[in-house]
Subunit: 383 residues, 2 copies
């Protein structure tokens, strides 16, 4: 096992320091204009400039650091220019810590019935009112500069990994767009991350990681995973890509948020994760525990006077019984979603903290093995 | 103007002290097993053992003291015996300050299609599953003793005030039930309040206030108002009743919560108010301001960078713009209801604090006149 300490100045306003390594797993500090990010980290998602059902105070209590917001949604509503005029996203939603915006690409390409892609960009219809809009790499960067997050993302195409011919064409388009995003970017207080695509093809992933790494982005993301491939395929792609991406820049696995995926990602050198999973599960009565997920709507919890997790220090577990949470769920009270969201995000944020500690103490191999042994994931990926 | 100081020991666990009087308006301290209540006060409503969309921490930050919960709802779901087995309502919902439960009567009588009243009690069908249940005065007290609030209410009938013949019969039934509740009550750590009925008839209200006052309850409530009568009728009934009820016991005007009704109630000697209005308005995008209500869905707030109320110190006003709140509303984000509930309850709790201060400083006449002059209530009562 090696313990390394590296420091990389990425730009005048961003710095990355690796504080420890256990095989591929590593801890680091990413310095941004809104504060330091201790990594590995999990970022909760505030799609519409709010992490659903939570106040910023809740998120601070949970010790969340990075919060993600979605460019597609905020462009359509309330509009990126309005957010800019009101002082940017941090001020608008009162999140004083670092933020990240995606490029809008993923959402736009998900509108499979109502969008049309060409080599210059994509034309799509709003899911809100059906109005027609167009994103190009330059437009995505302009919107993200209006929103003002600390980390912004290159405009990429996330194609179906099982569509072999198309995935190559799509990857090459993503590469051209990555260069256009770099050229379009103006603000010095935002770090633009490039995105590696290439589906589940080792050759394409290699090619994409090499090309994206060559562009000298301040950080890199791995896109197009957790979209239908197997866990083994995801792990294999992570290993291929992270062995190519430069060590001295943060690595972000997009849209991944189950506890086992986080641990498996860290084992393969990932530093940043984000996902709607903890808040979405909360709205469907499900909670993470060290043994796996439970659903609090279950009648077996009706008289249960214990918290969700006896070992958890979150506000919900320090105060409320499973019986009370089940009552709120059955009575359709909104507080249920709030209390479960607090717990589920806290669970992932704490898992990242324990992982950092284990890496710093050079015991992540046993820590991760123990966790994966105890935690029973759902048999299927349909989370 | 007279400034008085009285202290009344009501029972070993309850004490009432009047600290100041301005005409009929008064300030007081009601000591309960879960702490002192400074009055006049506004109690937010936690119908199903949760003040909708808020955590207990939010309510503590707002300086709410008394919280009301509904016996009818909790009896049906999750069941009063379950709440008792889990340590009572305070522990179940984690509210460490005083609580009040109603008798269940108001809700049961509201089920006009599916309930049948006789002199012994009322048989009704659950709004949840249609199952048949029966409340009697003794049953209501037994449920409230299981729930364990500090203040519990006598089982009464709240009849249509415009039904002249029936209202007298109903009042007499309420009087018999009040005596049965007093006899049924066992727990020494709960104060049982009697309820004055009598519709909008000065004669019946006089008769009811005299009878209920004669029973030596530790506190009194005025029921059957804010159910369709005019403001002038409400004010007249309050004056008649409060001139009869003994000075040395707290007076609670049930189900009243608009700012102007609170001020008008205090002017007529009321100490305690409760209402779902602030949280219900919040879920319909409306917010109290010193000038009257505003609805934040209005397009005029889309670019408004000011808080709901520049003079307000609540969490919402200290942090968020009208533009952000409007965005949350338009985007159907649950956080909107949370942030507006915080503001609206804070508005009423603060109005009660300012009222207490004005009474203590012997200037409630001018304070109330100024408030009622500035605050524009809705033209209609349909809140």
């Amino acid at each position: 096992m090696e313990i390394s300490e590296f420091s990389f100045t990425i730009s005048p306003m961003f710095e990355f320091q690796i504080t420890a390594k256990n095989n591929r797993a590593r801890t680091g500090i990413f310095t941004t204009p809104h504060g330091d990010l201790l990594m590995p980290l999990f970022a909760p998602v505030g799609t519409q400039a709010t992490v659903k059902t939570l106040t910023p105070e809740h998120l601070k209590d949970i010790n969340a650091t990075l919060v993600l917001a979605n460019t597609y949604h905020l462009y359509l509503r309330p509009g990126d220019e309005l957010v800019r005029d009101l002082g940017g996203l941090h001020r608008f939603m009162q999140w004083p810590r670092p933020m990240l915006t995606d490029s809008g690409g993923f959402q736009v390409f998900s509108l499979s019935q109502t969008r049309k892609i060409d080599d210059d960009g994509v034309t799509f219809k709003s899911h809100i009112d059906g109005s027609t809009h167009r994103f190009t790499p330059e437009k995505s960067i302009a919107i993200q500069e209006n929103l003002g997050a600390d980390i912004i993302m290159a405009f990429d195409e996330c194609a179906d990994p099982n569509n072999g011919t198309y995935i190559q064409q799509s990857m090459q388009r993503t590469h051209v767009w990555a260069e256009r995003c770099l050229h379009a970017k103006v603000r010095p207080d935002q770090a633009l991350f490039g995105i590696v695509q290439g589906g589940i093809s080792p050759e394409l992933r290699t090619q994409s990681a090499q090309f994206i790494a060559s562009l000298d982005f301040p950080g890199h993301a791995i896109g197009g995973l957790s979209v239908g491939e197997t866990k083994a395929e995801m792990h294999s792609m992570l290993e291929i890509v992270n062995d190519i991406l430069p060590v001295g820049k943060p690595r972000y696995l997009m849209g991944v948020g189950s506890p086992e995926d986080l641990i498996n990602g860290i084992l393969r050198g990932v530093d940043i994760f984000d996902c709607v999973l903890p808040t979405r599960l909360a709205r469907h009565s499900a909670a993470f525990t060290p043994a796996g997920r439970i659903n609090l709507m279950n009648a077996s919890y009706a008289h249960d006077h214990t918290p969700i997790d006896e070992t958890c220090f979150c506000y919900t577990c320090r105060n409320f019984t499973r019986a009370y949470l089940r009552h709120l769920i059955i009575a359709k009270e909104m507080l249920a979603a709030t209390l479960l969201s607090i717990h589920n995000i806290h669970f992932l944020v704490s898992l990242m903290k324990s992982s950092r500690q284990a890496i710093l103490e050079n015991r992540f191999a046993s820590f991760s093995a123990d966790f994966l042994h105890s935690y029973q994931p759902r048999p299927k990926r349909g989370e």
